[in-house]
């Protein structure tokens, strides 16, 4: 194969796919990027067997063909090349010669046939979602994904396509973030799938503000086609827990807060939250909310915020990280904190189809 390509475009293409490449792998081929030169373009593919990404860049192809080259190494070489245009030629023994300006590199690759193919999708269920909406949904939920490997069904985001809605849910068993998106599709398309964390992270890198993403769901696989890229991932097998039952039906108290003010106050106070208990207490009295953190033998932090509160005096404790995570990832100026009592979950809501359920901490 033989082609020439602009350095910037190749660099962009490689950076799209190289995150998937695992640094430590027992299969050398998985460290490589598959390069396929076809009519007018160069296709780049990487995979770790669970997640695969394919991108393409415009190229001047003199001779079609394919090979695989070490992805990280190729990326660092391309990044340093001196000229704007890169000329590459690969012989039948997968030895790549790369020229750019005064530079000349030879890299030994592995044959194309050894590269595991990305999953094929037959009889897949297909959906089309605005990238902007998907990006928003991922941002508002992904921070709540569990990292506890023993609860593997929670190591991803649930995508529930039901009743003309896509519901995205993430939870770690202590807090739960949920976004609803309106989406039209026939009843026969309804399905629940769990997309693993790694695919979620890759997808977040790929989604832009414009255009749509085509989602295909096949037997235990999901594919996202967007812009010039394709992301394919295995799904997490298993049943997602019944998340609906943890959402409180109604709140006793609703406190309206300015998101940034609340976030900043919690962040400051949490400086004095002890490492051990890692909690901040919200103390409500008429017209006021105190946010308090205490570390025995160190000191305490406190902020007072005026709030519309008319109920009886009451306090509830939360992990400050869990309280701040949604506040950091919401764009809204105003958030609502719905509470029942000090042992029941609190709910953060906005004007819009989002909610965040957070279990309090019990203080003895």
């Amino acid at each position: 194969m033989k082609f020439s390509v602009s350095k910037d475009k190749l660099l962009e293409g490689l950076s799209t796919v190289q995150n998937v490449v695992s640094t430590r792998t027992t299969l050398p081929i998985l460290s490589n990027v598959l390069l396929q030169a076809v009519e007018g373009e160069l296709r780049l593919t990487t995979t770790d067997l669970d997640v695969g990404v394919r991108g393409r860049v415009e190229a001047h192809v003199e001779r079609t063909g394919a090979t695989t080259l070490p992805a990280r190494r190729l990326f660092s070489i391309v990044r340093e090349l001196p000229a704007a245009e890169i000329y590459a030629e690969v012989d039948t023994k997968n030895l790549a010669s790369i020229r750019s300006g005064s530079s000349y590199f030879k890299i030994l690759g592995l044959p194309e046939e050894e590269f595991p193919p990305l999953a094929r999708f037959e009889n897949a269920k297909e959906f089309s979602i605005a990238q902007k909406d998907l990006k928003d949904a991922l941002r508002k939920t992904s921070y709540a994904i569990s990292t506890d490997e023993t609860r593997y069904v929670l190591n991803g985001i649930l995508f529930s396509f039901k009743e003309n809605k896509l519901t995205a849910v993430a939870t770690d068993g202590r807090r739960l973030a949920l976004v609803d998106l309106e989406l039209e599709f026939p009843r026969s398309q309804e399905i629940d799938v769990i997309v693993p964390t790694k695919a979620v992270l890759e997808l977040q890198r790929l989604v832009k503000e414009e255009g749509d993403v085509k989602v295909s769901i096949g037997e235990n696989q999901i594919a996202f086609e967007l812009n010039d890229a394709l992301l394919v991932s295995k799904l997490i097998e298993g049943n997602y827990p019944n998340y609906r039952q943890v959402i409180p039906a109604e709140a006793k108290e609703r406190i309206t807060l300015e998101r940034e003010v609340f976030l900043n106050a919690v962040r400051r106070v949490s400086l004095l939250a002890s490492e051990k208990s890692n909690s901040v207490k919200l103390i409500f009295s008429k017209g006021n909310m105190d946010i308090v953190a205490v570390t025995p033998d160190v000191g305490e932090g406190k902020e007072s915020l005026p709030v519309m509160y008319k109920g009886k005096d009451f306090s509830i404790a939360f992990n400050p990280e869990f309280l701040m995570a949604p506040l950091r990832n919401l764009p809204n100026d105003e958030v609502f904190l719905d509470l029942i009592d000090e042992m029941s979950p609190g709910v953060i809501k906005i004007h819009g189809a989002f909610l965040y359920v957070l279990m309090p901490m019990r203080l003895s």
Partner: protein
């Protein structure tokens, strides 16, 4: 003001329930526990059986050697628990400060209950009899240790009170082995020093006791004088909850072991629901004792509580040794609130 602590102890609780529910057993030696073949162990026995030298925790085969016509009934924990709840409900009417030690034993702090304590305790025992047709014995004293000793004094179906002014005299004669924390070994060590009663022990100074017993010596110094400041703790924090079985003959295959999990699982889940601490579970564990008596425990935090997950833990444990299995246990451990007492609650999914 001296406290008024009651130790309530049901008389041969499990055996008494079995005799109550099977009237034809009345007057006969009855025990409750594992089956008579090889490995069963008795949980309780009635007084008729005790006359033959049968004791609780005695292997069934040994009990049968001592008392060949002993009737061994299988355990019915659901029934025992139900009766235990009835009794606890009665106690709740008199004081909220109850510390259950097991299904058939509890401490009760009646310091704030008006009236003569021994009369109140008589009423409690009568109510228990009316509601359950079971008899209870009770000890009344200014502290837990003495109340526990006292409940044994007039057993069965009796009560005994140690008044503050009687303590000194009572302690002088009390054998040291009756003290909390003095087992057969310590008792023997004390006997070698010529110490048989608490009165003997009182002659030793704090320093001497610490030299002999380490930190426990300090406690002994108080205990042998009848001093015990420990409060009755209504919500003593449970660290774990579990259920286990010793099998009549060793289990020889994975399938056999796996088949035992659902039953143990049900028991633990049922207890867990009753305890109301479902949201406090930190980890799940499986305990295995192999035929060579070595044991292993596989514990995993954050695991959702399902039969399948416990079976997965079991497989992991069994892979550690290729030996037959003598005992299987299944349980959950709770979050321990740290010194600052903050615990993250879990969503109920």
């Amino acid at each position: 003001m001296p406290r008024k602590i009651v130790h309530l102890d049901m008389d041969c609780f499990y055996a008494a329930i079995e005799v109550r529910d099977h009237p034809e057993l009345a007057g006969k030696p009855v025990a409750v526990g594992g089956a008579r073949d090889r490995r069963g162990v008795l949980t309780t026995c009635n007084y008729e059986a005790r006359e033959f030298g049968v004791r609780s925790a005695m292997p069934t085969f040994q009990a049968l050697q001592k008392c060949p016509h002993l009737i061994v009934m299988p355990t019915r924990f659901d029934v025992y628990r139900r009766e235990s709840t009835k009794i606890r409900d009665i106690l709740m009417k008199f004081s909220p400060v109850i510390e259950p030690l097991s299904l058939d034993e509890a401490f009760l702090d009646l310091s704030d209950h008006p009236g003569e304590t021994s009369a109140t305790v008589t009423v409690i025992r009568q109510l228990i009899w009316q509601k359950t047709r079971l008899t209870a014995s009770a000890g009344i004293a200014p502290n837990k240790m003495l109340a526990k000793i006292a409940s044994d004094w007039k057993k069965p179906n009796g009560q005994f009170e140690i008044r503050p002014e009687d303590i000194s005299e009572f302690m002088v004669e009390l054998p040291v082995r009756r003290l909390w924390g003095i087992g057969p070994k310590s008792a023997q060590r004390l006997a070698e020093l010529g110490v048989n009663t608490c009165g003997d022990l009182q002659r030793y100074s704090r320093v001497e006791l610490i030299e002999q017993f380490g930190k426990f010596g300090l406690e002994l110094f108080s205990l042998c004088r009848g001093i015990d400041e420990r409060p009755v703790e209504p919500d003593r924090i449970r660290k774990s909850l579990s259920s286990e079985r010793t099998f009549p003959s060793d289990l020889t295959s994975l399938a056999q072991c796996e088949a035992k999990i659902p039953e143990l699982f049900e028991e633990v889940m049922s207890d867990l629901k009753k305890s109301g601490a479902t949201d406090q579970v930190k980890s799940a564990f499986i305990k295995i004792r192999f035929s060579d008596f070595t044991r292993t425990t596989v514990e995993r935090a954050g695991l959702s509580l399902t039969v399948e997950n416990f079976q997965a833990l079991l497989r992991q444990g069994l892979s550690r040794k290729s030996l037959n299995v003598r005992l299987l246990g299944l349980g959950v451990r709770f979050h321990e609130p740290d010194s600052e007492g903050a615990t993250q609650l879990e969503l109920q999914m």
